[in-house]
Symmetry: C2
Subunit: 307 residues, 2 copies
C-alpha cells in the first residue's frame, strides 16, 4: 500500500573519520523515501530550490518514488553541514542554512490525501499536525521529532502527539519528552501523550518498541531489535530516517498492523539503518535489492534468536 | 558441574536515588557465586577479615556454595563506598579500603584444583594468571578485568588474557583494551590477544558475544542478548558480576560448550543481572527460585524473538 512522507530534502556537507563530501543529496524525507521504497509505493511532500536538478530527482524516481509533491521554490535548497569526530553517534553541526525550507508549508496534492500510511518526519510540530488533519483515510501515522521542538514548542508538540500513532525518537529525546531518566518509565509517560506505540532508537544498540496497554489489541510487552555490529560506519547521517523508512515501509507492505508486523518492522528498520551507514549519504540505499535486504534480515535474526 | 570463582568479598556502602545502605555484603565473588548457585555447584576463593561473621557466610552456604576456600585474615574486610547520582550506569566511588584484600594471595584448596569451570573475577591480572596456572583440568576459564589494570598493568594483563577462554568486559573496557573506538573492530582485536570469545556488556542494552574464527568449532558470527527494560533500578552494584555468574553457571550446568549453550548462557547472564538490580546488594539473588529464573528467561525470549 502507499506511504506518504512529509519532511526535508537537503544538500549535506559531511565529514567523518572515513572521509568528506560536499553538497550531497540528503534530508530526512530523502533517506526515508529511499529506504521505504523497497517495501511500498512512496510519495514525498517536500520543498526544494532551483539547485535541485533532474539528476537529484532521478535518485528518487529511479526507485519508483512519486516526486509530484515536491514543491520547487525560488532560492536554494536546505543545506546542512556537520562532522562526526570522536563520536559516530552524534554529529557536531557546522552550519544550517534553512533557505527555501524556512517557509515550508507542506501542500498535499489532492491525489495523496487518502494515502493510508503517513510519516511526519522531523519538521515543526504545527506543520506535522496540519498535514495529518488535512489527510483523510490515514490508517497509521508515524512521526519523528527532536530536542529542538521538545524544548522550544512543547504545546504544539503536545497537540501533534495526539495525532501520531507511532512515535520514533531516540533515548535522549524520550527521556527529555517525559522528564524522566528511566527509559521504560519515560516510555510509558510518552504513551500517555497520544501515541499507541513508541519506538526508541538506541543507535548502535538497536531499538525498542513500547506499546500502550491494549494498543492494536496486542498487549503492552515491549520488543527489542538489534543493530548490526558494523566494522566501519562510513557516515551515520540518515541512519534514523532510514530506520523509520524501513519500519514504516514494511508496515505499509503488510496492510494490517499487528504485533508480529510491528516486530518485523522493527527488524527491517534496523536492516535499512545498517545499510545506510555503509556508504556516504544515500549511496547504499540507491542500489539495494530486496534479496540483499532479506539476507540481512536473516543475519539480524541469527544475531538474536536462540535455536 | 562445579565452578570456582576467585575474587573479592566486600562490605559496600551504597547510595542510589532509591535509598542508602551501609556495610552490606558485596564483592564480585559474592554476586557471582550467588547468581551461579542456581545453576552449578559453586566454590569460592577469597579473603575476608574478622568482621566477616557467621551471618555473612550463611548467605553463601544457604545457597549451597562451598566457602571452604574463603581465607580469614586478621583485620577488616575490603570495603567500598559509592553512589549512583544521575547515571545508574556508573558509580562515583566515595572510598575504597582494601584492608585484608590488599595482600590477597589466592590459595586454592587441593580439592578445588580440578574444578572444570573457573571464573577469574576482577583482581590483579598476575594473581589471575597464577590461579589459572595452578589449576589442572580446567575446561573453560572466564575472566573479568577493568580500566585500572588495562592502563596500569598492561604486560601482566596480556599474559593473563592468553589463559582466558571467555573474557567478559564492558564497551569502554573493550575499546580501551584494543585502542579502537569501533566496537566490532575492537572486539576482533581483543580476540587476537587470547580469548576465544569476548562478551561485551552493554549495561541497559544487553550484551554481545563475539567469537574468534573457529572458536569452539562454531564460526565467528556474533550474538546479542537483551537486557530487560526495568522501571526501577534500585541498585546497579554487582549487575556485571551477577551477569557473569549466570553466564558461567549456565555453561557449567550444561557440561559441553557449543554455540547454543553460549547463546543461552548470554541470556541467563542478562536474566541474573536483571534480578540483581531490583533490590539493594545481594538481597534479590538470595531468594530466587529456578522457576522464577526460567520465567524471566522466557520474558527475554519474547522480548527479542520473532514469531
Amino acid at each position: 500500500m502507499s506511504l506518504l512522507v512529509v519532511g526535508s530534502v537537503a544538500f549535506d556537507t559531511i565529514s567523518t573519520p572515513s572521509g568528506q563530501v560536499s553538497d550531497i543529496l540528503g534530508g530526512a524525507a530523502t533517506y526515508f523515501a529511499l529506504a521505504a521504497s523497497y517495501f511500498a509505493d512512496v510519495r514525498v511532500v517536500a520543498v526544494v530550490g532551483d539547485d535541485f536538478k533532474a539528476e537529484h530527482e532521478a535518485v528518487l524516481t529511479r526507485r519508483g518514488i512519486d516526486t509530484s509533491g515536491i514543491e520547487r521554490a525560488a532560492g536554494r535548497t536546505f543545506r546542512w553541514g556537520g562532522q562526526y569526530v570522536d563520536n559516530l553517534n552524534e554529529a557536531k553541526t557546522d552550519f544550517t542554512e534553512l533557505n527555501v525550507f524556512e517557509k515550508f508549508q507542506p501542500r498535499i496534492p489532492a491525489e495523496f490525501l487518502d494515502t493510508p500510511f503517513l510519516f511526519l518526519a522531523n519538521i515543526h510540530p504545527a506543520l506535522q499536525a496540519a498535514v495529518r488533519l488535512e489527510m483523510n483515510g490515514v490508517r497509521l501515522t508515524g512521526g519523528d521529532t527532536m530536542n529542538f521542538w521538545i524544548n522550544g514548542t512543547p504545546k504544539e508538540l503536545a497537540e501533534t502527539l495526539k495525532l501520531v500513532n507511532v512515535l520514533l525518537i531516540n533515548d535522549t529525546e524520550t527521556k527529555m519528552l517525559a522528564g524522566d531518566k528511566n527509559l521504560p518509565r519515560a516510555a510509558r509517560k510518552v504513551l500517555t501523550m497520544g501515541p499507541q506505540a513508541l519506538v526508541v532508537k538506541h543507535g548502535e544498540y538497536g531499538a525498542t518498541i513500547f506499546f500502550r496497554e491494549g494498543a492494536f489489541g496486542i498487549g503492552s510487552h515491549p520488543f527489542r531489535a538489534p543493530a548490526l555490529p558494523i566494522d566501519e560506519v562510513k557516515d551515520p547521517t540518515g541512519a534514523g530516517d532510514s530506520f523509520a523508512g524501513g519500519f514504516m515501509g514494511y508496515i505499509a507492505s503488510q496492510g494490517e498492523v499487528n504485533r508480529e508486523v510491528l516486530k518485523r518492522a522493527l527488524f527491517y528498520g534496523g536492516v535499512m539503518g545498517s545499510f545506510a551507514v555503509e556508504r556516504f549519504g544515500t549511496e547504499r540505499l540507491q542500489t539495494l535489492s530486496r534479496a540483499e535486504i532479506d539476507a540481512r534480515f536473516q543475519v539480524f535474526r541469527e544475531l538474536t534468536h536462540l535455536g
